[in-house]
Point group: C2
Chain length 328, copies 2
């Protein structure tokens, strides 16, 4: 297995990424890593893996054309070398827009895919169970046919990751009833029913997404992004309040000692860093976007996700599941 | 001031509503209350206010036409009597869809308003500061002109409630930069800039909505609803985890004693019940939708919001602010 890594572009520079690669290679000696970035910053890695000098960094706000023009950027070079040399996966913590553009334009979408989409997993009330949500932000707008494809791709991803037999799939909506929803949701609902999509359960409101019932939530890229970031925002606010409550004085610190374990478990459950970022589905190759502000732990999680997706052959599973879709 | 109340239709029956009215009247002797519902369940109130027998309950899933046909329902009668006798406000904890339909069709929208919308307030990181969010679910879909009107209506509401001079207004988007967003957000952004909308600050991602910078967040009804309910869902999940952590055993209960005050403050800050539900803006009259699962405290908060909105003459303020919009 060969994984290309863009070592630049994350908010915290190359340091945590170098750390993550070293850690990852300890547990995964069978994986070949090729790292792209400023050579001088990657000295520590030269004995462990191939290092390719690609000193330019794609800025956070770069548009699609700008990215492609930056041929010597670590991001562009990682993606194009992946294509040329047939690597299995590419991972970057750089600009989301830039990375999605580069991956889509260089690696191309799987035949039949109308739009690629970003998928990630959220924790749920049920310990250990995660819910797969897509699209969380690759698209600004989607039509009903695209949502239907997201359902097929989400199923392949969910089955690869969790070995679910018939994952329960819902459409994100503003009401659970069949007749509720935006015109887009209503149309996608109709199409999924017509196709007898296995495991389709109907609509789900955002407030129920984490209750553990759903395996997969399908949304357009804008709404999915709003839900993801809205949840992230309030979770961060509440975590901040909890910390402040415990740090107030000697008494509250003493109180913390009594409940430390429970709150540590809780923050692990809620920690988005452990999810390892999001994967871009519908592309020829495994493309994983790590969080922009990745630390070593978070970037290592992203590498693990990439490996798992290659192991489970998720790209081919998507190819097959889209054949199913077209047959119906 | 005269307020009509639909005492039926909430998830918990008329009991908490009767309780709330009694409490509210203790502090607001100058307000005249007219209650609609099953007379037998409202005996306690007959000495305190006018009680009108309207025994039918609009079911949670009733459509617009169905509601209007239910002339003897507590909800319909409250709204239609409000119109006939010129009350200032109406409050209900019943079916959201039914209540919005009845209010819109019977009371009619303010001249010039394209679509009414639901507005509510969220807590923020800054103690005591709330952020006004609209539309949180009156519409399944909106166009850019409607979003612009929401900005005008939101401003009138925010200024009435918090006496802000020039509230900072943002569009909810999937990226903060001007060129980001759905086609709808981009178009609304352009229109607000063209109109030189005072206080318009650009786009905001859902993760920053609670950071205290924004006074007003403008969204289409679908996205606003997804954000509201997504935040509600994760806040509930985290609160459940916190409670469980403290209740585990004698030690953790002891720990709770040390931090009780902080966590009580926190749950008060996060408590959506204290926001008193949502107001339907753009209608001829103050229309407040209390939470479906209102307890007495929550319904009393909704009554307080209704009173405040009448005191601040918010309906006329909206009328004036829309004149401003049309002038531009």
């Amino acid at each position: 297995m060969k994984i290309a890594i863009d070592a630049m572009g994350g908010d915290n520079g190359s340091k945590p990424i170098v750390e993550a690669i070293k850690e990852f290679l300890k547990d995964n000696k069978d994986v070949e890593i090729i790292v792209f970035g400023k050579e001088v910053e990657l000295q520590e890695l030269t004995s462990l893996c191939r290092v390719v000098n690609a000193p330019d960094i794609v800025p956070m706000e770069a548009g699609a054309l700008e990215v492609l023009r930056m041929k010597n950027s670590s991001m562009c070079k990682a993606v194009s070398t992946m294509k040329e040399e047939g690597f299995d996966a590419v991972v970057s913590a750089g600009s989301t827009g830039g990375f999605l553009s580069a991956a889509t334009l260089i690696l191309k979408t799987v035949p039949g895919v109308k739009r690629s989409c970003l998928v990630t997993c959220f924790p749920t009330k049920i310990k250990g169970k995660k819910v797969t949500v897509l699209d969380v932000g690759a698209n600004n707008e989607n039509n009903a046919e695209e949502l239907v494809q997201f359902a097929y791709m989400g199923k392949a991803y969910n089955q690869a990751l969790f070995a679910t037999k018939e994952p329960k799939t819902y459409l994100l909506s503003n009401g659970a009833e069949e007749h509720k929803g935006s015109p887009l949701v209503k149309e996608a609902h109709k199409l999924l029913k017509e196709k007898n999509f296995e495991g389709f359960q109907g609509n789900m409101e955002a407030r129920d997404v984490l209750n553990g019932d759903a395996d997969i939530i399908v949304a357009d890229g804008f709404s999915g992004n709003v839900m993801l970031k809205g949840m992230e925002g309030i979770a961060k606010m509440m975590s901040g309040m909890i910390k402040k409550n415990f740090k107030k004085n000697l008494w509250t610190k003493l109180g913390y000692l009594h409940v430390r374990k429970g709150f540590k478990d809780m923050s692990e459950t809620m920690d988005y860093k452990s999810t390892g970022g999001a994967m871009l589905l519908g592309i020829n190759g495994v493309v994983v976007k790590a969080h922009g502000n990745s630390d070593a732990y978070s970037f290592k999680s992203a590498l693990k996700v990439a490996k798992q997706m290659v192991d489970f052959d998720v790209v081919n599973k998507i190819r097959e599941s889209l054949k199913d879709e077209q047959r119906l």
